[in-house]
């Protein structure tokens, strides 16, 4: 089966610009996650969707980050305006449901560099 798709793979922007990332989960997966991985750290959850509803966005910096999953399939994560500290890899993951025994499958990530 096809894996989690993300685009773009790399993005370089200047601070205060805006940027958007796209994720297409594995077909049929109801749960979608966005993680931020800063260099030297492990991934940190930004937001979790169950179908098109937000389950957990407690660690999403809502003053500049937004995410949507309008039709319960693919999702976009936006940063506006970007700061230097937003430089990171943004990972999208999906799982069949949000149940505790479900494995999360990760995409290749988008590497963002903010200059």
């Amino acid at each position: 089966e096809a894996g989690v798709a993300q685009s773009p793979r790399y993005k370089i922007i200047e601070k205060r610009q805006s940027v958007a990332f796209w994720c297409n989960p594995i077909s049929g997966h109801a749960t979608l996650y966005w993680y931020q991985q800063i260099l030297g750290q492990g991934p940190k959850l930004l937001i979790q969707f169950q179908n098109n509803g937000v389950v957990d966005d407690s660690q999403l910096p809502k003053d500049r980050f937004s995410a949507e999953r309008l039709k319960g399939v693919d999702s976009t994560l936006k940063i506006q305006p970007a700061k230097l500290e937003d430089s990171a890899v943004y990972l999208c993951a999906s799982s069949p449901t949000s149940g505790v025994y479900n494995e999360q499958f990760f995409g290749p990530g988008t590497r963002l560099t903010v200059l």
Binding site: G3, V4, T31, Y33, G40, Q41, G42, P43, K44, L45, Q48, Q50, V55, D56, L91, A93, S95, S98, G99, V100, Y101, N102, E103, Q104, F106, G107, P108, G109
Partner: protein
Amino acid sequence: AQSVSQHNHHVILSEAASLELGCNYSYGGTVNLFWYVQYPGQHLQLLLKYFSGDPLVKGIKGFEAEFIKSKFSFNLRKPSVQWSDTAEYFCAAGAYGGATNKLIFGTGTLLAVQP
């Protein structure tokens, strides 16, 4: 708050050497534990997982991990490493609450295996 600690940030081994990577977690309730691996240029993928039952779990590519509840540990082991095991390894704990199903990752261990 839940947290995961990985004590080894960089490990260098020769082929055929034995591997043990440390992972400790802090969490007051039932915990599910995972090891993920990221090979160079590839996405995160699951090595093995522990939910319940036998504390010694076996994963792909000859890896195993032992859950020791009294030590809050879930160390990863492999008796004989190969050059192809060069990768970054992440320990993670599952945090569940309602519909939330997020992974708390450690900072990762970069393993380099010298031929």
